[in-house]
């Protein structure tokens, strides 16, 4: 028995020893990310496969939910035990890490590969600090898609999706009259913000969008245009069903794909739900960017590469960055993820009808705006979320409440 135990122990010891032995020869990268669910995991697998094929060893550290994964990554960086790469959302999330010198710039790599020329400019800028690239954008998520059930619309006598937010109201009334839920909405603040942003852009226009979200312009927030946007947003309050508060976005999507509800405003990740349920774009369900289809709100994910004194780690990081941006890998990754490639020079033939519409807009700088997370601090964004969600869930709240809330949030932020 003792001998057996010793054998097992020896075996275990050997297997522990043998892993670093292999790892020493090949560049090894531990990658921290939060893509754990079906389609997301399939997407990250494409990266891992490509990295292994390129001669590296991918060590996967997946933790669900961005805040959890980021907490683990940030603390490991602070604690001096960083991974090779860690996922973040594009935007201000890694400002402090850059400021404290915990993140490595990959600007040289970008110049060498010519990334700036092929990426959506807003996303490239959002990943840069002081003109240098500090994070690697890897995909684009459109965040103002209106998905609608073709059956519900035609059963309600709505021929086509209206192209303006004011015209939407009578259409929603028709849908309700026909016995359907007009608007499938998940009642969580971030989902309400998505809807509001789409209206701000669609009805208020690009100028107002930037004035509010980027410049925190109190005057613009008090303008009639902005008030009109808030009222258009408020007019939709009556069109959700009673079970909406607290609902997950996918449950709201389920209402649309089961033809119980008319439409849902969501990011393009919702396409995955339709696909799993066997629904075909432009046949069972329709998708429109905003209502007009002219401007896409873009966001996406990035990886940051923590600073490390280790030469081997730098090599592993370089290989990782190049692999992730390889055109063929980009296509495979984004097909699985349901997002769009970060580069506009890849073959887009395999993407579905919805993604095609999005990618067409990505080609032109003027037909896209950055998602609010990118241009606003998380703290201010949170304060605005609080204002919007109070308005959305309180039928007696007026547009003035929102205007006041925005103005005072802007003041406190300065």
């Amino acid at each position: 028995m003792k001998q057996f135990a010793a054998l097992v122990l020896a075996g275990a010891a050997l297997s522990i020893v043998s892993i670093p032995a292999v790892a020493q020869d090949k560049p090894t990268a531990e990658v921290m990310h939060w893509w754990t669910s079906g389609g997301e995991a399939a997407a990250i697998k494409e990266f891992a496969k490509a990295y292994d094929a390129a001669g590296g060893v991918w060590k996967d550290t997946a933790t669900a939910l961005g805040e959890n994964s980021r907490a683990a990554a940030i603390n490991r960086m602070v604690g001096g035990n960083p991974p090779a790469a860690a996922q973040f959302n594009t935007g201000k999330q890694f400002d402090d890490l850059v400021a404290q010198g915990l993140v490595r710039s990959i600007d040289d790599l970008s110049k060498e590969e010519g990334w700036q020329a092929v990426m959506p400019p807003f996303l490239y800028d959002a990943a840069s600090r002081d003109g240098k690239l500090y994070a690697l954008p890897i995909n684009v998520h459109g965040q103002n898609w209106m998905f609608y059930s073709k059956k519900v619309l035609s059963d309600s006598g709505v021929e086509s999706l209206p192209t303006g937010w004011d015209a939407l109201v009578p259409a929603l009334e028709k849908i309700r009259a026909a016995g359907f839920i007009p608007l499938a909405q998940g009642g969580q603040p971030w989902q309400e913000r998505l809807l509001f942003s789409a209206i701000l852009l669609g009805k208020g226009g690009k100028d107002l969008y930037f004035k509010i979200y980027r410049d925190h312009d109190a005057e613009a927030a008090q303008s009639d245009e902005f008030r009109g946007v808030v009222e258009a947003f408020g007019a939709l309050r009556g069109f959700v069903d009673q079970g909406s508060p607290g609902r997950n976005w996918n449950d709201a999507t389920a209402l649309v794909l089961q033809d119980k509800a008319g439409m849902q405003l969501m990011g393009d990740w919702a396409v995955g739900e339709f696909r799993t349920a066997g629904k075909v774009a432009d046949k069972d369900y329709g998708c429109s960017i905003g209502l007009k289809g002219d401007t896409l709100i873009v966001g996406g994910d990035v990886f940051v590469f923590p600073k490390t004194g280790d030469e081997a780690q730098v090599k592993a990081q370089n290989l990782l960055a190049k692999t992730m941006l390889d055109p063929a890998t980009q296509v495979k990754f984004n097909l699985a993820k349901g997002s769009m490639p970060i580069r506009n020079d890849v073959d887009t033939g395999e993407f579905n009808a919805c993604a095609q519409k999005g990618m067409a807009l990505l080609k032109d700088k003027d037909s896209q705006v950055p998602v609010v997370d990118i241009i606003m601090s998380a703290s201010l964004l949170g304060a605005l979320d609080d204002v919007l969600t109070q308005y959305w869930h309180n039928p007696s709240a007026s547009a003035d409440d929102v205007v006041e809330g925005f103005v005072s949030a802007f003041e406190l932020e300065e």
Binding site: F94, D96, Q100, G246, S379, L381, G382, T389, L412
Partner: protein
Amino acid sequence: MTTRPRRLRMATFVVLPAWALVLAAYVGTMVWTMQISFTDSKLLPVDTYVGFDQYERLFSSTRWLVSLQNVAIFGVLFIAGSLVVGFLLAVALDQHVRFENTLRTIFLYPYAMSFIVTGLIWQWLMNPGLGIQKAVQNWGWESFRFDWAVNREMAIYAVVIAGIWQASGLVMALMLAGLRGIDADLWKATRIEGIPPWRVYLFIIVPMLRPLIITAVVLLSIGVVKAFDLVVALTSGGPGIASEVPAKFIMDYLFTRQNIGLATAAATVMLITVASVLTPWLYFEYFRKARPRGAA
């Protein structure tokens, strides 16, 4: 009592490492928390001091004020509810019922489950389109309403129900441990004197269980101040901000909203509140007594 130096030294010696831990971990973190609350730290701590700015922001935030109000409502109802339900369950199980082991596990299991998912179940149950309301209406009672989780006025009470569901099993276990420690002679004596059992429980047993009840109240209070998962899973603080609580405020600003200056300011306010309740209570409960022993 005469002091015996040698033994005293051993007790003191045993307490030393505890002091080290408490100073390094607890006092250290508390001081750090207060210090950061006077800076404008975002994602990571920095040392640019901004005076009471964070506190000003904190108390100008409607959400924080709503959170304070909610935690008071939640605290009172949750602690009272869990104590009553837990005590009744313990008494019930103490009546030589059959399948005690199974029943005890049934009452205690919610405590073992991750609330990420059990909270979702409660969300479904209290959702008017999916849960109890719909089921009862389908049985024929058309006007039945149970929409607490989606109702702004009632959402915090929905959280109370789920909280009691989760925590009263633990109170039951504590109380049961106490009841099982009560001497059989007591029951004989009260029976001979003809005191009805409910009076025995209320006027004799409850005072005897005082230390355990205090333990339960402290445990439940810690749960109240730290209530977070419960709210996130059940209502995510909504509808709107109707069921926000301070711990969720702290967590949101600590992680998602990346403003640890504000988060630590909120934590400091909570800490001072707790301290101002705890200190007088501890003093009267434990320290005033001349005896070296605590509550008796």
